[in-house]
Symmetry: C2
Subunit: 345 residues, 2 copies
Amino acid sequence: MPAAKNRRIVLAARPMGEPKDEDFRLEETDIPAPTDGQVLLRTIYLSLDPYQRGRMNAGPSYAKPVEVGEVMEGGTVSKVSVSKVDDLRPGDIVLGRTGWQEYAVASGKDLQKIDPTLAPISTALGVLGMPGMTAYTGLLNIGRPKQGETVVVSSAAGAVGSAVGQIAKIMGCRAVGIAGGQAKCDFVVNELGFDACVDHQNAGFTEELEAACPNGIDVDFENVGGKVFDAVLPLMNPFGRIPVCGLISQYNATRLPRGPDKIPLVMGSILLKRLTFRGFIVPDFFEQQPEFKKDMGQWVHNGRVKYKEDIVEGLENAVAAFKRLFTGQNFGKLLVKAEREPEKS
Amino acid sequence: MPAAKNRRIVLAARPMGEPKDEDFRLEETDIPAPTDGQVLLRTIYLSLDPYQRGRMNAGPSYAKPVEVGEVMEGGTVSKVSVSKVDDLRPGDIVLGRTGWQEYAVASGKDLQKIDPTLAPISTALGVLGMPGMTAYTGLLNIGRPKQGETVVVSSAAGAVGSAVGQIAKIMGCRAVGIAGGQAKCDFVVNELGFDACVDHQNAGFTEELEAACPNGIDVDFENVGGKVFDAVLPLMNPFGRIPVCGLISQYNATRLPRGPDKIPLVMGSILLKRLTFRGFIVPDFFEQQPEFKKDMGQWVHNGRVKYKEDIVEGLENAVAAFKRLFTGQNFGKLLVKAEREPEKS
């Protein structure tokens, strides 16, 4: 067992609005010892994702909140360090949910073994993991894109959005991204092969989106909400589908913005255009994991689906990195590389 | 051919907000003569329905507007007066869309013959017609009620709502109505067999609705929008379904109401609760007409589905009657009985 201490980040207070440094605390603890059926894991990659902002709030949601004083929740790719599980050995790479910490004890049944020869192990947290499966299941089950249709996706350079647009292309659709900044838009078009990408920071965003969707929008894979969605809604075609996957523009909201009441507008569009809005989270489609793994594994392998990672070194930088999710400063799937050289004892 | 004149109501101006008497004009014209393939019809029943408010507006919707100077649109049950169609004879009863007038010429292919021995002929405009089919297809295709679930329907005493709740009961659900006034609520519970009905005019409406739905709401068949919907949304259960059929509280709106911006609230609920909102109009499910006719015909015949009609005598009263749709003063399927005794010549 390494002589090092475990470092972990706990929720120190529930953030009001944008998370602040004081809402978190970096702690040093002893490294726990596994009992029978458990392994000691050393975190290699920690995934930072927008849903974690929701876990910082009290009150009911689709999952229980992180309590104040508890380790922040998160998906991880780790190396087995000590094993008291029959089919896991030291050195094995596993996918787990051990949170924002460098070491963790986990039960063998909560881990999935990763074959590092198939794809880079970090992809188990990205294009071949939860974000990729979110894109795949939400687009295919709710968006139901048909050949020739126009699919719009916001946060198009992000972990989910980049996969959505590329799957839309595979399905024969026109893929239009929305992203913040020219660099992301260029990446989305030139590297990922979207047909167009519009910068929501531009003054002429609404008009540019309209110009990029000459036949209207059939599917809006909604990741952002707020002003970005306001520009999308009027362009929706009758019978359009709107998988509502995320509303990142709203996650830090402390009160509802004032302004004209837009419920009649939303509801009126739903009615007149017979839109389908359907919210989902990826566990709703858990039974489709085998198809997802088969299809997406092949697409990534053949280069039909590309991915980009934004890797931050050191667990101590997790909070600063997490905050970048809400300012659009991350570029690609945000991961923390938490592996340190073991300290000399 | 009767020696009488035809009386008809044309759109005189596009209403701003609530329709006013001056927006319509009662005209007398000669009775038209049918040519080959046509019949002359004498209107017996004219159907007044909320969607007709939409046809009075210019601008795009799912159907083209009535032009100023044109006869107002509407479904009708008529008697064939003169026939130049092979399979229709004088005295036959037909369902058509000949609008707000006492006589009309129509093409045989635009008419459906009604068998007056099967059910009262007025039901072809109500429970066995478009409103009944709206209830049937919207509830079963989009609401997808499962046994034991709670189904809420607004305008519960109306043509569509009354059928929705009764079909929900047939499906083994708890049916909760929302209606305006105690008389309607009593009717909905005592005559139609809903489990509960809440009066939206009561000061404690929100709390009463909550008490009537102790297990939350699984399906909201939305006919009203506005404040009624505001009370429903927080009670929706995860994976709830909201067929959006009508928004009658909004049809006369000339501008969006001011107040807190509720898009984040609606969108947030869609996401967290994985709600499905889906707008529809009945032609979207046209191919299900045979099942509808079979099922609903049987249910009405067996007394499992009851209906109520609100019949106004005389075409000259159509405008006043139509306005009652928006103040909640009608009670049951609103019909105009347009048949006059032929004037003595």
